[in-house]
Subunit: 467 residues, 2 copies
């Protein structure tokens, strides 16, 4: 689309010239995220205050211009890619921490603040905010809320939906709302806070969030368990999750991931290693020995090859090195790999892994799996070159079967990456038609002209691309 | 209203004669809850299966008949009182536990199961479901979800919104939906699960819930702290909540509550006791001593008169006796007292208590306060006789000021009792007009003919009764 002539001057008046990017070369960088999707926005604007967001939304609403709000673009599903053109509203400069209230265990922030900036201030007061995506140094809290992004700690401490008390936001018609409360309990009116979290900017633009803080545990211990095969590792995950000591991280990597790491790093791993778990336990120092013993006992089974506990910061680092070598190794082998983040109930992980093995062989695709085993959240990596049409076709066929398998196991298609563009056409396989109908109507309630992030999250009504 | 002639026979055909109450004497008991509101339903029906609920809703939808779903009627806000007549659908006989999956930390239940039945089965496997209203032996999980009811444990373990994975439900047009997931992570589509939780049966009838279970802690310790005045107690609450050991209960009663208990029980309390805290800490046994020491240190200040830790089950019972003597004592003094459940940020509790003291004097009403201090959730009891018009008028005037004070302190009008009828006309003071407009439209999306629990939760559009 092309914007009406007076829109750019109107936005420059509203925001200031330095807050508006008109040159194509400048706009380019706001047309992609960490997926393979890309599109050039007609205009890129920055807001630094709530009132500016209201102004931008109102103008776009009045003229029916698509408005895509975004943070730092670390998403992996194309959710911020402006496929219908229009205005990209970057909130990265709206990054103030408005209030830190340790006595009420909360922090009020603007959406553009980075996850790590929140963690740093919280830590000064002995707290943390549980969501901890790998991209935490760069990604914004607004983005975390848009996708309900979590990370390893979710297994014990939950996702953004469990760690946000309230929001300030602007709906698609430019209406200003406040949702939720400043307290840890509240049941007046419907829960619009959780409705906005995970809605990928399709219902409203979040301009402020009240984050619920959690006290830091006194101590933490790191363990690494190596198994002969994935079944033994999955059995250990089930056993760990069935006993009372909830780990604060329970990550796994499969045998192909181990091969990658072995080929591309100096990690020392047993010859017959078939799966690896990273386990972290936090809590009071006095109970650490006992807690580690309980988790270790659950981790032990016939397939266990080696169980190591770190006794120093250096050892913690060494144990994590294998896991951390994985991403660079994968990037090296398949820079454009397809990374899914399906979830199944913990008890179904073995069936999922077996199924993935079978599907990989069937479609002649190397699949590498790792992820947040304690939540059953598995990052399924298809090592293909999507620029090769034949490989991409094989991957598409394989993925359709992966998603069918996940749903058959009572799982969900996304744990923390969201839907965006890339999973949009699969959503109707997970969500029933009646619920989708309700979601579409809810979308219309919040965004009557459909300007907010059009074409994302919900399947298109005429889905010629459904599988 | 009177029902069309063929409705009763149609429902008898659908449900069976023993599932339909037509006599006024039988219907009477389904026309009230634990508030002072009452109304006679035109018909009372019971469902035992999801399909029956679908049938009942479809019939009511077709004929525009009000449909009020309810559990055991332990609510305190009139939310299940059929003020517009119509059909009351009791779910108390739909009380099966459909699945217990300790390996996935979840339980699937029908809405009529009691809270304690859930706890009992969970306990057999070493788990519990955190919401624990005082009425747990009687109240249903469906009711807990309708009001987002919590209880003392919420301070550490959260409310139903943090402890439910997914739902099955029937919307006001009789559409069957499934919301949420069977996993602890999931971000596909909008969060309809939390939208239904706390909506008091105005959006859909919940027919199944997947409850997230939490492992029982190894040990628990009970402490009682008595203070010279409420300020010292509130200061202790703040100090306890600002350190890392989160108590699993942090309850308080104020000086008037102490007087009540002293007058109506044999509890031994220091002469100058001005406030009392009950503190429970749970966790691994090895850390108990240290955890109790940390909480005790936070509880100590110049106003502390006595701090006791229980060393046996008998001592635990003795320490709780004071708190438990309160409700009977209150019922004795003011059987029809008004009980509110406002919430303020923990740091504002002293201001709230001071304000309540002032308002009590001003309106010549004895106000007794107790509640879940760790959440800032205060049960404000106005000891009046509401059958006396003069007393009721004073109480209404006082309550309006109480609510204004709560909102001024960034609090909320209800923590766990909900809105129903009795707080409906105050909701617009807490929630902005734009959000209320959205909520009304969401209501219309889920319930286009407005048959589900009409007149509850949201303020009437023409609010002649607003304060």
């Amino acid at each position: 689309m092309s914007l009406p002539n007076h829109i750019t001057p109107a936005l420059i008046t509203l925001l200031g010239a330095e807050q508006v990017l008109t040159e194509a070369t400048d706009r380019l960088a706001y047309g992609y995220d960490n997926s393979r999707e890309q599109a050039l926005p007609d205009l890129v604007v920055f807001a630094t205050r709530h009132e500016q967001v209201v102004g931008v939304v109102k103008l776009c609403h009045e003229h029916g211009i698509p408005l895509i709000s975004r943070g730092r673009g670390t998403g992996t599903t194309g959710a911020t890619v402006p496929v219908s053109g229009g205005v990209v509203l970057s909130l990265e400069r709206m990054n103030r921490i408005l209030r830190m209230a340790p006595e009420d265990r909360l922090m009020v922030v603007e959406p553009g603040v980075t996850n790590h900036a929140v963690q740093a201030l919280a830590a000064e007061h002995g707290f943390f905010w549980p969501p901890d995506p790998t991209s935490g140094a760069v990604c914004t809290v607004g983005g975390n809320l848009a996708y309900n992004s979590a990370g390893p700690r979710a297994v014990k401490y939950g996702t953004p939906r469990e760690n946000v008390l309230g929001l300030r936001a602007v709906t698609g018609s430019g209406e200003e709302i406040r949702t939720g409360v400043y307290t840890t309990k509240g049941v007046v009116g419907y829960d619009l806070t959780r409705l906005l979290i995970g809605s990928e900017g399709t219902l409203a633009v979040i301009t402020e969030a009240t984050l619920k803080l959690t006290p830091q545990a006194q101590s933490k211990r790191t363990l690494q368990a190596i198994y002969a095969d994935m079944h033994s590792a999955a059995q250990a995950v089930s056993a760990i999750m069935a006993q009372p000591v909830v780990p604060c991280a329970l990550e796994f990597i499969d045998h192909r991931a181990i091969e990658m790491v072995r080929a591309h790093s100096r990690a020392e791993l047993p010859e017959n290693a078939g799966a690896l778990l990273m386990i972290e336990v936090d809590g009071p120092e006095a109970a650490m020995e006992e807690m580690v013993a309980a988790v270790s006992a659950a981790a032990r089974n016939d397939g266990l090859l080696r169980l190591q506990a770190a006794n120093s910061a250096a050892e913690v680092k060494a144990l994590w090195a294998t896991r951390q070598a994985l991403s660079p190794a994968l990037r090296n082998v398949a820079p454009k790999k397809i990374n899914e983040d399906v979830v199944v109930p913990v008890s179904r992980i073995p069936e999922l892994i077996d199924g993935l093995d079978r599907l990989g062989r069937q479609h002649d695709i190397t699949i590498v799996n790792f992820g947040h085993a304690g939540n059953g959240n598995i990052h399924v990596n298809l090592l293909i070159n999507p620029d090769d049409p034949a490989e991409l076709a094989r991957a598409d066929a394989c993925l359709a079967e992966v998603f069918a398998l996940v749903l058959q196991l009572q799982g969900t298609l996304s744990g923390e990456h969201g839907v965006g563009l890339v999973k949009r056409d699969f959503v109707a396989q997970e969500i029933d038609a009646a619920s989708l109908g309700l979601m579409r109507q809810v979308k219309t309630v919040f965004d009557p002209r459909g300007i907010l992030n059009p074409g994302k999250t919900l399947p298109l009504e005429d889905t010629s691309r459904t599988v």
